[in-house]
Amino acid sequence: MGRFYQNYFNLTIIYVILTLGAITMVFPFLWMISTAFKPPSEVEAYPPYWIPKTPTIANFTEVLNRAPIHIYLLNTLLVSTCVTLLVLFFCSLSGYVFAKLELPGKNILFLLILGKLMVPFQVTVIPLYLLINKLGLGDSLIALILPFMIGAFGIFFMRQFIISIPDELIDAARIDGCGEFGIYWRIILPSIRSALLTLAIITFMDSWGQYFWPLIVIRSPSKMTIELGLAFFTNQYFTDYGPMMAGAFISLVPVILVFIALQNRMIESITHTGLKG
């Protein structure tokens, strides 16, 4: 631990700075919660106050009446789960080939895959949109899954971990008559459990927060994800802050629960992989 400044800086000042910063981090969310449980008259009250005088869940019923939030949530859950499972499977499978199997030209192939990381998504979004429509998948949940089912980063990440698995372990399984897929399934996957969890966390989070792509391909409300649906709601009722904050609250609860459950694990995953730039 680099607690080198300890004796030199005034600790109190440091704690004050950090606490002020921490308040800045949470107060928008607390204000969101306070507003979500206020009746309209109290939302409009000025000067504003924190504790609702007559707490109510009217904003929640209101937002559910006007927008099918439960469908948005289900769609998002479905899409994010599918994307995550597909990414885990295909990236680890490819990572195994790149790390351990013989194939002429596999390094060039690997570089071609990594090349994707240099190209921003927005550069390919137009052709991707045309392609998805050509395949007849416009305005469908499949359109939200397909372009993200394998990631260059995921393959790279899996390869790094699989490469450190001892070859003797794999050879022993081969001698026992295990096929390559069997080795992948029974030996590789169990030994990279921790890396798989990391990849699962960042993929799921990333998929959950997607906005640009769903905005482009999804038209009908029944196919919307939670983020898209909420933005849609915000556009329509941009002065109704009570229901808006209730919607924001609903969308945040699953994320925060997962964050509390995984905490350091999640912080590590996201920062080690540099996903959120």
């Binding site: 992948y184 983020e227 945040l252 912080i267």
Partner: protein, 290 residues
């Protein structure tokens, strides 16, 4: 002979296991990249599906288009603000976190909450904070006897307002990266410097800063690239307005491509973005290597 056969069999297995990935990358990565470049050199009609090659015509128009130029300017302003200020503040906070004996983890957790929160949700919450009439920020200003501001409705303020929110959202991410970097610096450097009578500022300036420069370079590069792709918060909070004050490059791509359906023209802007991001990455890498 038999050896050759088993080897070929090995290759076939490998190819089979890799085939979904190969197909995916051809179909969803390389085909769109090539197609995107091709689109930018032509005129594509979405309705009839016809394509006519026009050479550099789109690019000639793009670099004179006032909408594109102003979106470029907005993107640069936005990125400079979020990246420079965000890096300084997060570095400061990371040093603070690494200096305290206890609760470092708790602070990291709190600073990380906006990072894990989806952008749309965060943008909605800040929309409410920035509300001009009864919003909480103007209320706080009124306590300081400062007249209310039209945060998102004032063309000279809107972009900065969104930049402040975006910086706020990304702080925790950079703090955690910086504090991991600071932890990696050997304590002996500090002890030696302290024996030589170095003060806090000198410790920071001559030990932390130089040894952390690769990490700072990483944060600079990733956050600049991220900032250049900003779109969601603008789309939710201002729709690119007022009078285009918060329109970014990606917003211009979105507008031309998916609201006016001028796919070729939008592709030319996308190619421009691609080139800018390439140059940025190379320039920054070079800058920090020296």
């Amino acid at each position: 002979m038999k050896l050759k056969k088993t080897r070929i069999k090995k290759y076939i297995t490998a190819i089979l296991m890799l085939s979904p990935t190969i197909v995916f990358f051809i179909l969803f990565v390389y085909y769109p990249i090539v197609w995107g470049f091709r689109l930018s050199f032509g005129e594509f009609n979405l309705l009839s599906g016809t394509f006519k090659f026009v050479g550099l015509e789109n690019f000639k128009r793009v670099i004179r288009d006032p909408v594109v130029l102003s979106s470029l300017k907005n993107t640069v302003t936005f990125s400079a603000f979020t990246v420079i200020l965000g890096t300084i503040i997060s570095l400061l906070l990371a040093v603070c976190i690494e200096s305290i004996p206890k609760y470092g983890g708790t602070y990291k957790f709190i600073y990380f909450i906006p990072v894990v929160s989806p952008m749309v949700t965060v943008a909605m919450v800040w929309l409410w904070l920035y509300e001009p009439r009864i919003g909480y920020l103007n209320y706080l200003l009124s306590l300081l006897r400062i007249p209310p501001k039209q945060w998102l409705h004032d063309p000279s303020l809107a972009l900065i307002s969104i930049a402040v929110m975006s910086m706020w959202k990304g702080l925790g991410f950079h703090i955690v990266i910086f504090s991991a970097g600071i932890k990696g610096i050997s304590k002996e450097f500090y002890e030696a410097a302290q024996i030589d009578g170095a003060n806090n500022w000198q410790l920071f300036r001559y030990i932390t800063l130089p040894l952390l420069s690769p990490v700072i370079a990483f944060v600079f590069i990733t956050s600049t690239i991220g900032a250049f792709q900003a779109f969601t918060q603008m789309n939710v909070m201002t729709k690119g307005g007022p009078v285009g004050a918060t329109k970014t490059i990606v917003y211009a791509i979105y507008e031309y491509g998916f609201q006016f359906y001028r796919m070729s023209y939008a592709s030319a802007i996308a190619v421009l973005l691609f080139i800018i991001i390439m140059i940025l990455t190379l320039a920054q890498l070079k800058l920090f290597r020296e």
